[in-house]
Amino acid sequence: MKLSGFKWLFGRNSEFWPTNIKTGMWAWIGHRVTGLILVAYIFMHLSFLSQAMLGADKFDSLMEVTAQPLMVFLDFLLICAVIFHAMNGLRIILFDMGIGIRHQKVIFWISMAIAAVLVVAAFWAIWDLVFVPAEAV
């Protein structure tokens, strides 16, 4: 089957074309994507901590690896996912309580503004560990 056969599904006029997706749908997609990332992370997190069962030296050397700048930066990306999921989650809980459903778009952007402030704070927190050479700290 030709790729153009999927135009109705993914083309410019389809509901999946980025500019045709509305704010609430973006929030829904974001919540699902970050949720699945965090589920995968939890299992990774537990498997990393399991290293302690193989011996203290195994765990300690793994922790040294995770303290490297690249790993701390990945931690930052993880925190961004947590912040988005938490702020949009609060928005969902508000709607469940019957608050603000009619203003869901505005509330989305307010929650994203709070999320942006938290992301900046997280970026400030990792700055020394990622961008300043170890000998200078």
Partner: protein
């Protein structure tokens, strides 16, 4: 199209829906605590079996850790269940999915408790 407009809470049930909200609020508190303790109070501090053992001598840490473990596993697996239902997967095999997720959840919780033991002995 009608079946796609059914609210997930109606497919998933009221209790899972309520517990997902309850664990969400708990996690908001736990994760904020977790991040502040791990990344602000002890920022740049070396993490080792010894330093974690030292912290875990405080019972409050163990209580928070266990509360977070149970909440996060429920929230993650029930979230996964919601996403599957969103895509009309397992809607007709709900019981099978529920048993599978329950077993996975209990196994993961036990795993999470067992991996704390080396730190408590250390």
């Amino acid at each position: 199209m009608a079946e796609h407009t059914i609210a997930t809470s109606r497919v998933g049930g009221t209790w899972p829906w309520f517990l997902q909200r309850l664990t969400a609020v708990l996690l908001l508190v736990f994760i904020t605590l977790h991040l502040f303790i791990a990344h602000f109070w002890h920022v740049g501090e070396e993490i080792s079996v010894d330093s974690v053992s030292e912290r875990l001598r405080d019972v409050a840490y163990i209580v928070v850790d266990l509360g977070m473990l149970v909440s996060v596993i429920f929230h993650a697996l029930n979230g996964l269940r919601t996403v599957l239902f969103d895509f009309d997967m397992f809607v007709k095999r709900k019981k099978m999915l529920d048993i599978g997720l329950l077993v996975l959840g209990i196994a993961t919780t036990v795993w999470g408790i067992v991996i704390l033991l080396p730190f408590l002995e250390g």
